[in-house]
């Protein structure tokens, strides 16, 4: 079985009769089996995938024109996305055994195009983390070096694509959770504009930041997935009703781009030397191709992380209140009264990082601190947004390394959350502003780990971002 990197390749071979959906699914299942020690999958929908593959092979045979646009595309989904009749647990004990009554709007739209979902993959609990270590299912390992983390929170989605267990994996991105693991694992990670894809069926972490993202081997796949999932949805009042362009049909970029980068980011302290070199090398290549790449002053870089953690934890503290042991999920068997049901169920059900963020969020919203933290952070968000949009008024893209450092050893930062939070510095900006961003692999660190570069574009300029990415990939 060749390693397919795009849906066109798969569909060409399927239609030419070189392979069948059933063979493809068997191949991916064997890949999952062979890479079990990486701990990417928390549940495999083997029989279901086989059944669906069989039905699709039949459908192709009977009427080749009747198959959907994702015919033959096998995907995995992050354990924070609802899939009707399937478990969804956010890698948390608190949702132990919980089965969703409905499918996320994005998932529903993919299913209508004949996608095959092969399994549910690991992540940081409630998407909180940068390593995929904060999981009730244990850490997922990076296939490039199993002693290293795959990044997070959609770490296992990146690994699932990295090790060829599926063509595409769906992740979610609140502060870089799709792009950073993509960079750590050497795949493409794409986060659309906030509100481009419905959040209905995405287990909320930071509601005003969350967005479904795509991890893939090709820009074409990211474009097609966005095209299918995006657009208005009666179940999400915040989703954009703007018409959805045909991203997958406009992937050529024949102009010269004007790109900004922040010198304070690329030449600042805390950035890994190899990553800095690879990034500048990439900039030189772009210039050689005739694109303009210029350094731009961005004075708010140091304020992004503090403001982000105030706002997301505030929203999270409220979003996670529904996990109370009353109607579903884990309920402490020792609880004897209502207060104990809440306290003991949540104490037992949530992991350390989630508890830390709930407490932080509760604190910043509490009487007497609201103005100093929450209100202030909202003002900072506004400043960052205005300045970023201003820059994107003059430039097509903003370029930055996806992460200032390459994937680190499992366990290394587990007791140093602040250092880990700071490693999100380059990805968080896109979520603060709500703009689309993509991480593309640009080479390897001297230690052998993949390195990614990130491009951000203005709101709803996914078509331009994807076309440019496709042209330089």
């Amino acid at each position: 079985m060749p390693k397919y990197v795009s849906h066109q390749q798969v569909q060409n071979d399927l239609k030419a009769g070189k392979i069948s959906c059933q063979e493809l699914v068997e191949y991916y299942l064997s890949q999952i089996e062979a890479t079990k020690e990486l701990n990417a999958y928390v549940e495999i929908f083997a029989e279901e995938a086989r059944q669906k593959a069989k039905a699709l092979d039949q459908k192709l045979k009977e009427d080749p024109d009747s198959v959907g646009r994702l015919f033959g595309v096998v995907i995995s989904i992050k354990d924070v996305l609802c899939y009707k009749g399937h478990k969804v647990t956010a890698a948390s004990k608190i949702l132990n055994g919980f089965e969703s009554l409905f499918s996320a709007t994005g998932i529903e739209r993919l299913l209508r195009e004949d996608v095959i979902i092969i399994g549910r993959v690991n992540c940081d609990e409630f998407a909180m983390g940068s390593t995929c270590e904060n999981s009730v299912y244990g850490p997922t390992k990076n296939a490039a070096d199993p002693s290293k983390v795959p990044g997070g929170s959609s770490g296992a989605s990146a690994v699932a694509v990295q090790i060829d267990t599926c063509l595409v994996s769906l992740g979610t991105d609140t502060g870089g959770s799709v792009r950073q693991p993509a960079a750590f694992c050497g795949v493409i990670g794409f986060k659309p504009t906030y509100g481009r894809i419905s959040r209905y069926g995405l287990l909320a972490y930071g509601s005003s930041f969350d967005q479904i993202g795509v991890l893939s081997n090709s820009v074409e796949d990211a474009a097609l997935f966005l095209e299918i999932m995006a657009g208005s949805d009666e179940f999400d009042a915040t989703v954009s009703t703007k018409p959805v362009p045909k991203y997958s049909e406009s992937l050529t970029f024949d102009k010269k781009a004007k790109i900004a980068y922040f010198d304070t980011a690329l030449n600042g302290e805390g950035i890994d030397e190899d990553i800095r070199k690879l990034s500048f090398g990439f900039i030189e290549d772009l210039k050689k191709e005739g694109h303009t790449v210029e350094s731009v002053n961005f004075e708010y870089l140091d304020y992004i992380i503090p403001a982000y953690y105030v706002l997301t934890t505030a929203e999270a503290s409220s979003n996670l209140s529904r996990y109370d042991g009353i109607r579903f999920g884990h309920r402490s068997s020792d609880a004897k009264n209502i207060d104990e049901v809440y306290k003991m169920s949540r104490t037992e059900g949530f992991g350390t990082e989630v508890k830390r963020r709930i407490m932080l969020g509760t604190f910043v919203l509490s009487a007497g601190y609201y103005d100093a933290y929450y209100s202030k952070a909202q003002k900072v968000r506004r400043l960052i947004t205005d300045r970023t949009i201003e820059i994107l008024g003059n430039y097509d893209f903003i370029l930055m390394p996806t992460s200032p450092i390459p994937a680190w050893e499992i366990g290394k930062m587990i007791d140093d959350p602040v250092t880990m939070y700071l490693a999100d510095i380059f990805t968080v900006q896109a979520n603060m502003v709500g703009i689309p961003a993509i991480s593309l692999p640009i080479g390897k660190h001297s230690n052998g780990m993949p390195v990614g570069i990130q491009l951000m574009a203005n709101k709803f300029e996914e078509a331009k971002l994807l076309a440019f990415s496709n042209s330089i990939c």
């Binding site: 179940f235 209140s321 009487a367």
Partner: protein, 482 residues
């Protein structure tokens, strides 16, 4: 002067009105009252992971309708916020409400009191969702939770502290209930919990301009309890101050069986609700066109009708009150009044005949068996003296109830109730009666004017009740006073 008379009570209300929308505030669940527990629920109202709220346009429409009726300023842009607290009947762990900028600001409700009307100012009206119900008394060990009500849309109407007594609170609640029913935004049913109020009570020495420390009495679901709670709380606070104590700001429950208020014991008083903007809902944007459309569609308001019924139709306060209690009745009256100027007759018909029939048969005006056309014709028969008042009510009306499809004139003819106003016919009978009783005529002429009743009776008997009393009276007077 009693010590209590030296004080005045200052009261502000927070009224929760359940809106009569078909579906819940943020999802499509049914809102019908009285369904089996936990049958009107869905993934969204149960707060399942991944669910999001969506706006119910009717809720916004109803809020604007009420705001317009109260003369509030309508916010063209308002926001939803989250109020965070844990309780078993609050599935999401927060209530979606409006904290920063509510949909309606200001306004007033004019209420009728014994000694004149009073305008009670409204502070604001905001939209929110109801919680479910916790039932503590049906299982010895467990609290049962019914989430049918969770997410039902509410308006919270917050008054200024303009009320001074339980009577005023009663009048205000009655007026508000009547208004929401007129607007058809709520059924205002306190028994079913469609209307509930929290009462803020403080006392101060008469003449003082600063407010005393207030206590909030929660969840009063009947006017009787509200009255009792206010009366108890007023005395409690005055006693406390008079004995040298200070009123502490606290939240109280009213216990109907003891008639007393007591502090809510749980930690609710210490709650920090951590309000913050609801990130799942965009701001509510209302266009001026939408407002003016709703303005045009405003039904007549109860107080305006009450005044109109007294002035234009010259009805008593008592009649006007009864006729305007419900919008349907008032509009029914107005319809009938277009065909007859005998307003008192219409009023009597509705109050004495139609309303009792409706309450006995437990039906509504819409199901009333006699059409407005036939009722108008009925009034006309009386107006035109074709059927006497007493015959009309005693015999014709019951027949019409049985034969709603038949015209009143036909029924009256069939029953031989048509009274003759034919002057010749009447004159003939009057002449006959007078001729038969020459001695009585003589006595009358000597000054015993009371005998007119005797002659009337005789004419009636001779005409078998069909003589028009007015005309008979006139004729008799004419002939006897020659």
């Amino acid at each position: 002067m009693s010590i209590y008379d030296q004080y005045e009570t200052v009261i502000g209300l927070e009224i929760h009105v359940q809106l009569a929308t078909k579906s819940k505030a943020f999802c499509s669940d049914d809102t019908t009252f009285g369904a089996s527990p936990n049958t009107h629920v869905s993934a969204i109202s149960l707060g399942h992971p991944g669910t999001l709220p969506r706006l119910n346009k009717k809720q916004i429409e109803y809020a604007v309708k009420l705001g317009l009726a109260l003369g509030s300023e309508i916010s063209l842009k308002s926001y939803f916020d989250r109020k965070n607290y844990f309780y078993t009947d609050l599935p999401k762990g927060y209530q979606i409400t409006q904290d920063r900028l509510p949909i309606c600001i200001g306004g007033e409700l004019e209420v009728r009191l014994k000694d004149g009307n009073k305008k009670i100012r409204i502070h604001h009206i905001h939209m929110e969702e109801d919680a479910g119900k916790s039932i503590h008394d049906q299982d010895p060990k467990n609290t049962l939770v019914d989430l049918n009500r969770a997410g039902v849309p509410l308006l919270e109407i917050v008054s200024e502290p303009d009320l001074r007594s339980a009577e005023e609170v009663d009048a205000f609640m009655t007026g508000m209930r009547q208004l929401v029913r007129y607007l058809e935004v709520s059924d205002g049913n306190m028994q079913e919990g469609s209307m509930r109020c929290d009462v803020n009570v403080s006392v101060r020495k008469k003449g003082d301009t600063t407010l005393g420390q207030r206590c909030e009495i929660k969840n009063l679901n009947s006017m009787r309890y509200a009255r009792k709670a206010i009366e108890f709380e007023t005395s409690r606070q005055i006693d406390l101050i008079e004995s040298g104590g200070k009123v502490a700001q606290e939240t109280l429950n009213f216990n109907p069986s003891t008639g007393k208020t007591a502090p809510i014991r749980d930690k609710e008083n210490a709650h920090d609700y951590r309000y913050f903007p609801e990130p799942d809902l965009p701001p509510v944007i209302i266009s001026k066109a939408f407002i003016s459309e709703l303005e045009k569609a405003q039904p007549p308001h109860p107080l305006a009708l009450f005044n109109q019924f007294q002035k234009k139709y010259k009805l008593s306060e008592y009649d006007a009150n009864l006729l305007t209690e419900e919008k349907l009745t008032a509009l029914f009256f107005i319809d009938l009044a277009q065909h007859s100027k005998n307003y008192k007759a219409i009023s009597n018909l509705i109050i004495n005949k139609i309303n009792p029939y409706l309450s006995e048969s437990n039906t509504g005006l819409n199901d009333f068996p006699i059409s407005k056309k036939h009722l108008s014709e009925f009034i006309q028969l009386i107006d035109e003296n074709k059927v006497s008042n007493s015959m009309a009510y005693q015999r014709l009306f019951p027949e019409m109830l049985k034969n709603g499809e038949k015209a009143p004139l036909d029924l009256a003819e069939k029953l031989n109730l048509i009274q003759s106003s034919d002057s010749d016919f009447l004159e003939q009978i009057v002449d006959e009666v007078l001729a038969k009783n020459p001695d009585k005529v003589a006595t009358y002429k000597k000054g015993k004017k009371g005998l007119i009743g005797f002659f009337m009776g005789e004419v009636m008997r001779a005409s078998k009740g069909k003589a028009d009393p007015k005309k008979t009276n006139g004729l008799l007077a004419k002939k006897l006073n020659v």
